[in-house]
Each structure stands twice: as C-alpha cells, then as structure tokens.
C-alpha cells in the first residue's frame, strides 16, 4: 500500500506563486460552476460579466486599480512588518485612524489651495496610521507585548472612534440628522488619471516600490531581514532589535494610514465607518500571497482587486451577495491552498497510514491512497 505525503521542497519552486494563483483560480472557478448552477444561474454569463467588470476595458481597469490601492498598501503594511517577523494585524484600524486624521486635516485646511490640501490630507493619513501603531510598537519593543493582540484590538477602538465622530462632533448639520460626516472640499479630492483611477494609484505604486527597494537593497532592509530570520542572529550581527521593531511597526502603520487618506480623498469623499471595508484584513491575505515580500504586494493586490470588483458586479445580475462572496473566498482559498505546492511536493511513499513516513519530521500526511 502506498500513500501520498507532502514533502517540503529544499527550495521553493521558482515562479510557484503565480502558478499556484492560476491553479487556485481554475479550481475555484470550477467549484463555482457547481455553485452557480445550483443557485440557478448561467455560469458562463456570470464569469464573463465578472471579467468584463474587472478587466474588460479601461474603465473597469480604473475601478480595479482604485480598489487595488488600499489592498496593496494594507498588504504592504503587513508585509513590511512580516519581513521582520512581526505580525501587524492592525492595518484595518490604522486605515481608519489615517482616514480620521485626513478628514481632520480636510476640515482645517478647507481654505488651502488644492495641491497643498491634497498633500496635507495624504500626510495626515500617514501620521494618523503611524500614531495608531505607535502604542503597539512601543509596547512590543520595550516590554515585549505581543503585537498581534495589541494591533488587532486597536482595530475595534478605531472603529468606535470613527462612529463617535460621525454620530457626534463631525456630524454634517445638513445631513437631516443622518450620521454622516460632511463631504471633503472638492479641491481636496485626488486628481483622476483616467476613467475613475485617481493619483492614489501612482502614490501607492511608488510607496510599494520604495519599500521593496528598501527591504531588498538597503542596509536597513538587510537588518530587517536578518531580524526576521532570527532575533539571536540579529543580535550577533550587531543589530539593535528594540529600535528596529518600533520603527518598523510605526512605518507599517503609516503605510496603512496612507491608504486611509487615499480612500478618503480618492473614493469615499467623506469619513464613513465603512471607509476601510475590511481592506486591513484583506491586506493580511495579500501579504501572505506575496510571501511577505513587499515586492510582490502590488501584483497580488491588482489580482485581488479584480476578484473583488468582479464579484461585486455580478450582484446586479441577481446573484446574491453571499454567492459572490463565496466565489471570492473560493478563489483566494484555492490560491493559498495551491501555494502549498510551491513549497511542498507530493510524493508517494510505501507504508501504512499512521506511519509518519518521513523521519525528518517534515512530512505531512495528506490522505490515504487506495
């Protein structure tokens, strides 16, 4: 009797990640066919609609790119911390904090000229996000408080703060008592590039590129990667972990906060409690698919954005939002699942089930062959 086991590859398969994304996509769309048929829809029409809405023409591309901006920046906020072995689960809260600070700037700077106001809003976003990450950063670096918990819990705090602002002090007097913050001034909005795509696309791309270069090519990034490999090795190499941990977490917060500023001035136009829309959490998936490498975040974010936009578009065809959400989840699940194959290979081994098989300890049993 033989059975398959997963054996870790000595080297991850080159190009394995894009390949696994493709495999995941095919698997998910195949399962999706069953799902859609079961729900009484025409899968071909639905898939065509998804593709057209996300990538069919320049207009759809512009929407997809706009969506990719917060996803990419949130992914970067996770991946930068991840390069050092830190888990920033707080991008959601940092986006909200960035949006709040940016909205505050928009209120103060109503009379400022357009370019100044736009810049100030984006800087406000960075500052807001950084401040939101400051607490977890200091707690982690000085007394070793687990950053996963602190960053995660602060997400909820940020959300409550936004709700308080839009129900209270920042409620628009002209909103007929609806809990809405006022629109930001027109000249504070991000200029558009084409279709609906705004300059935030370029800003995000530049920031991601800067971080990718910084992590891969600079001494700063080298220290980051060494620290991410092993704290003891970093100390041996003479790297001060405390300062580095704090600055990296604050920077990650700033990156996420920038996404908040861009969303405010680029797509939402006012502070709402849904302004982050789960981007911070999606960013964790983006970073994971990019293998925690800042250089991979942009491409993953565009693909992820296309899946989201395509998934949303079919809701107008009478497909329930839960079906579309399941479809999106399937695609991501498939991509992550298939990603395992770039790091492991399936090997048939003789022996009966229950035998650990690979004595090195890396073997993972996947099931019994018949």
């Amino acid at each position: 009797m033989s059975r398959p086991v997963l054996v870790r590859r000595e080297q991850a398969l080159r190009g394995g990640q894009p390949l696994s994304f493709a495999i995941g996509l095919v698997v998910a769309l195949t399962i999706g066919i069953v799902l859609l048929l079961g729900a009484g829809h025409d899968p071909v029409a639905i898939y065509e609609r998804m593709f057209v809405a996300a990538l069919g023409d320049p207009d759809s591309w512009s929407v997809t790119l706009n969506r990719a901006v917060p996803l990419g920046l949130a992914g970067l906020a996770v991946a930068v911390a991840g390069s050092m072995g830190l888990w920033n689960i707080g991008a959601e809260g940092q986006i909200l904090a960035g949006a709040m600070m940016a909205a505050g700037v928009a209120r103060i700077g109503e009379g400022w000229p357009g370019p100044v106001l736009v810049t100030a809003i984006l800087v406000g976003g960075v500052v807001g996000g950084s401040l939101w990450a400051l607490g977890p950063a200091v707690a982690r670096s000085q007394i070793g408080v687990n950053e996963i918990l602190t960053t995660l819990m602060l997400n909820e705090v940020a959300l409550r703060l936004v709700q308080w602002l839009i129900h209270g002090p920042w409620k628009d007097p002209d909103s007929f008592n609806f809990p809405l913050a006022p629109m930001i001034p027109d000249h504070g909005r991000l200029p558009t590039l084409f279709g609906r795509a705004h300059v935030g696309v370029i800003v995000a791309l530049v920031v991601i590129a800067l971080f990718a270069v910084a992590v891969n090519r600079t001494a700063w990034g080298f220290e980051l990667r060494v620290a991410g490999s092993s704290g003891a090795t970093a100390r041996y190499a003479g790297i001060s972990l405390e300062r580095k941990t704090a600055t990296v977490l604050v920077m990650a917060g700033g990156v996420a906060g920038l996404a908040g500023g861009i969303e405010l001035a680029g797509t939402a136009d006012r502070l709402t409690e849904g302004i982050s829309n789960g981007f911070g959490y999606a960013g964790i998936i983006v970073a994971a698919l990019a293998l925690m490498r800042p250089s991979g975040v942009a491409a993953v974010a565009v693909l992820f954005g296309a899946v989201q936009i395509g998934g949303q578009s079919i809701q107008t065809m009478g497909v329930s939002s839960s079906v579309s959400t399941i479809l999106q989840a399937l695609i991501l699940f498939g991509a992550i699942g298939a990603g395992v194959l770039s790091r492991y290979q399936v090997r048939m081994v003789p022996g009966d089930p229950g035998d650990p098989g690979d004595p090195g300890g890396d073997g993972v049993q996947v099931g019994e062959a018949t």
């Binding site: 080297q11 700063w220 060494v226």
Partner: protein
Amino acid sequence: MSDIWKRFPGVVANAGANLSVSRGSIHAVLGENGAGKSTLMNVLAGVYRPDEGEVRVEGVAHRFRTPADALAAGIGMVHQEFRLVPSFTVAENVVLGAAARILRRQAIEDEVADLAEQFGLATRPDRPVWQLSMGERQRVEILKALWRDAHILILDEPTAVLTPAEADELGVVLRAMADAGRSVIFISHKLHEVTGFCDEATVLRGGRTVAASVRVADTDAGELASLMVGSSPMTTERPPAHPAGPPLLEVSGLSALGDRGLPALQSVDLTVRSGEIVGIAGVAGNGQRELCQVVAGLRSATAGTVHLAGDDLTGASPRKLFQAGLGYIPEDRLGVGLAPRLSVVDNSILRTYEAHRRGPFIVAERAEAHCVDLVERFGVRTGPLDDPMAGLSGGNLQRLLVGRELSGRPRVVVAAQPTRGLDVQGVKAIQDLLVEARDEGAAVLLVSEDLDELLTLADRLVVMHDGEIVGEFDPTTAARSEIGEAMIGHGAGVGS
C-alpha cells in the same frame, strides 16, 4: 531495546544502540551531546520509529507508532521542555487529555493530591501552572505520566532546569518510585547525579552503546567519564607548536548568569596569547557556553572584565567586539551564527554589511564579490549564491561561517563546538582553519566536548566545572583520566 538504528538526513543518530532496564531501578543513560541519548529515548517513547531494531516491554515486542502507543505499554516521558498549559491548574494539566468525562474539579484535585502524596511529590493541585517554579512544573509532568499509569518513566535531562536543592528532592522522589516497582530512565550528563542516585548506567557514544547496564556501585565517576569521552576514531597529527606571543584575550574575575537566571559562570580568569590555542574541556553545561557568549558580547557579565589586546571591552556590543578583532564561531550555527532563510550572499556579509554600503544601499556587486571570495577561499560548496543558506549541508554552512569570521584576520577567535556534527572531512577543514589562524598570530579560544580534538589542537587545556576553571593541563603530557576527573569536579587538577 536491542540494536536500534535511527537515521536522519545526513546523520546516523543511533547505530545499533542497546538498552536494558530492570524493574524497580533507576537507570542512567549517559553520553555527550549528540551521542544519541535523546533519539533513543524518543524511539522508546514512540515519538520516533526506529529504522531497525526491537523494543520489548516485559518480554513483549512493540512497534510504537505514537507516544500514545508507548504510553499504553506503560512508557511515559518527561521532556526537557515542559508541555503544560500555563493557565490551567496542576490537576487540570495532569488529567488533560486523559479524562474522558466531564471534569469535576474537586474530585480530580483530590485524586491528584492522593497520587502526589503516594510518591512524595509536593504539589498544590489547585494552583495554575504559571505560578509554579520550574521544579514544581517538573513534578506536574511526572504526575502526568504517573496518572497515565506509566511503569517506565523517562526523564530527559531533568536536572538541567533545577536548582541543586530541587535536584536532590527529585532524587528522593525517583527513589520512591523505584521502590514502588516502577522503572526510571534518567538521562543526564552530570555524573555526580548518576553516581548519587542511580542504580545502573548505560553509556552511549556516537549512537552506539559502549557500556550496558553497568552497576553504579561497581564503578566510579572517573570511569564513566572516560567511557563517555572515549577516544575518537580520528587522530589528527598534532600541529607543530608555536611560540606564544603577548596576551590578546584576558578574562578576569568573570561571572555571569545562565539562561534561567542561575549563576553559570563564577569568577573565571583566563588568558589567551597570540599564537596559541587554549582549549576548554568540560561536560556540557558547566559554563563554557556562557563564557563564550560573555566574551562575544551576547551575554552580560555580572562581575569581572574582558580585555581584548589590552582594551577593556567588557559589555561591548557584538559588533564593536567584531570590529575590535574578535571572531566568534557560535555553538548554535543556524540559530545564531547564520540566518538560514537569507541568501548565501546575505549570510557572508552578516558581520560586515556596513562595509559594503554606499549611502543607504548595500552594493550588491561588492557583497557578491565578498561572498565569492569566501566561497572560493574556504572551499564552500553551494548552489546559486542567491538561494537560501538553509540549502547547504552542515559542513558547508560551517565553512562559510568560520570563513566569514576568520576572513578579517581577527586577533582573537572564540570557537564554540566548531566541529560538532560535521563529517570527517568537515572536521579536518575547520580544525585546519583554526590552526592556520593561530599560526598567523591569532589567540584562539576553543571550546569542545571532543577531548581528542582538544588534546590534538590545544596548546594549553583548561577544564571547566560548575562555572569555574578547575584545572589547567599541558595537552602533550596530561593523562586523560586526570582530565576526566577534573571534568567531573574532583581530582588532582582541582587547585583553586
């Protein structure tokens, strides 16, 4: 257990090991690090499956697939790292996974208290585990095994986490268990404990049993020590002696705490001169590791000073020490000396990346040139230099590490277990590099558990025991037995 073989990729951990334990006895399993003790015990406890060999319990042959199988046959193991849930109480931890019914707190606490009392294990069943000392946690682990009705209890270096007083208490508890007809397997490399409270001893070396079920009463610590150390099959020519120059590394009155906050290093004085290799012999865990770490700036001293070529560098950072001419080959290659997930190039510049900078950037060409230079000069066999370091074999990892530390011609080299786990060729290559560094005038401090290596390479040999230097020997004339005696803390070498 008879003729147990267990191979791991690149290593044979057990090469025909035998062990026979009789009922109602405390049986010590002795051996140096890497002798195969832990592997053999993991085979017995069902964690590993042997490639060959047979395990019999009370005459019945078993093939354990999981620790649960072993437990069902009455074999329980207390691992070095405790496996307890800190927020659960003692009683909850004891019954965790073994109680099928709904937990009735009071009843279970009473049962655990009864069991504890039966074997004289002082414990407080209602206390959460996080509040307990290491000694108490260990008792919880022992209780876990007893609760599951283990008749053969394996303790993997149980005293490593204990204070001396706690260790003595443990001895009493183990004796009570043996008297109650259970068997205890006691893994250790502390000989005084073995002679103190074990009945029989089995000594492993190089994965083989070199002495089976020796009655402790019929032997002494010195004999056991020489069995453990043995003589390695490799006898290298002794490199020609070299006149020593001025002192480059001077350690005086150095004390430090170990990982668990207990004193690990006590007032150590040591001088290493230019052009000499000073070897440190000792059973593992007697302060050698801490000494190296303090000298290399990775552990802080509680007293004393470290001078490098006359400069006081006590408490200096690892980077400052490196720049002052200290090459350090740490014991833990992959966890400290290298970053296994980073590329070979990145690892080659781990200590000198600042020197490859232009502005904020690391100049890739310069870093790669440095790496290629190391790889060629030190004969490292690698795949693509951009691939992760982890893909290299153990010997090549170490060649790169040692090459990196020696390439800057350090004045002082601290080498901790530099050849451990390497194959014959790798051992020879690393030893040659250390001798070469010495011949070029470096002061080399060599810590090794391989006495033959020390006797071959060292110009002077000091022995550490219990955090102190207890003797100094001339490796060309000293008798092994004398050194062995000093290693276990008594003998002619003990002067101070």
